[in-house]
């Protein structure tokens, strides 16, 4: 459910991660990477709203800057807007069923973000490998290359996601407890309180 209280947060985080995606930081091998933002969007807004946010970012990037491209837009939305948003949310949701201390939440945020980014890269590799008309390499080759290179990005995304979650727990825990726009079959997102820093 997308509520009136969620909309300003959704707009702010979407703008924030649009800007963050312009900030390329150097990683090994002379290449750069940037945050995707899917994990934070999914965790704070819920996966449906996070998916919409990521779709807006990808659409603006493709339409105005040619970043990502229009013909690959659907694939990018699936990779970064669905896989990269739902996986971190599901990992945190499952963790919250068993533990609610801040350490566990931050570990779940890191793990979910890492897995989300990694799986998004695996899907991108799969799509590239299956594009036999334009890509001459097999699926295993493409998937391996994407997974290895993007695991570093996943680790970076995991660290930043855990730090942002930790910051929100301390400063604005109410933002984490807003009703999430999520599928009903996933169930209610448990309340996260500012007391999550203690042991369970």
């Amino acid at each position: 459910m997308l509520t009136d209280r969620l909309v300003p947060l959704m707009a702010t985080l979407t703008a924030l991660f649009f800007a963050a995606q312009m900030m390329n930081y150097p990683i090994i091998g002379g290449t750069t990477a940037h945050l995707l933002g899917g994990p934070v969007l999914g965790i704070t807004l819920g996966p449906y709203a996070g998916m919409i946010s990521m779709t807006v970012i990808l659409l603006i990037q493709a339409l105005f800057f040619g970043d990502g491209g229009l013909t690959s837009f659907g694939a990018n939305v699936w990779n970064m807007g669905v896989v990269g948003v739902f996986i971190p949310y599901i990992v945190l949701l499952l963790t919250l069923r068993f533990r609610k201390d801040a350490g566990s939440l931050m570990a779940a945020a890191f793990t979910g973000a890492f897995l989300g980014d990694l799986l998004a890269a695996v899907f991108a590799g799969l799509e590239l490998g299956l594009s036999t008309l334009s890509f001459p390499y097999s699926v295993p080759v493409a998937v391996t290359a994407m997974a290895i290179n993007h695991s570093i990005i996943g680790a970076g995304e995991g660290i930043v996601t855990a730090l942002i979650l930790g910051l929100l727990l301390r400063v604005r825990p109410d933002l984490l407890s807003l009703p999430k726009a999520a599928p009903r079959w996933m169930g209610e997102f448990p309340m996260i309180s500012s007391r999550a820093e203690g042991k369970r």
């Binding site: 707009a11 290449t31 807006v56 040619g66 229009l70 890509f135």
Partner: protein
């Protein structure tokens, strides 16, 4: 100032910092996906010509001030578009 307005203001402040740091400080060498593509010899064959290719205004390529302003304008555009989409999709009972 309401809490929502304060949230938007703080978020936009960070966004402006991200855009400025991204354009002014951090390098713009190849992204990981581009690196993988280059390794496999894959070339782009665009079917659409964007108005601002590679986040630069034609005629002002390499001008960092223009790039920062462009980033800020499109950050605001992203905020407004998402706000409009969110308002359109929100539950009518909230």
């Amino acid at each position: 100032m309401t809490r929502s307005m304060r949230l938007v203001a703080v978020g936009l402040t960070f966004a402006v910092v991200f855009v400025s740091v991204g354009v002014l400080v951090l390098s713009m060498s190849a992204e990981t996906l581009d690196e993988v593509a280059e390794k496999f010899g894959v070339r782009e064959s665009p079917v659409y010509k964007p108005p601002l290719p590679d986040y630069e205004v034609p005629g002002f390529e390499g001008n960092t001030a223009v790039s920062v302003v462009l980033g800020i304008i499109f950050t605001l555009l992203t905020l407004l578009v998402t706000f409009a989409v969110g308002k359109a999709l929100r539950s009518p009972r909230t």
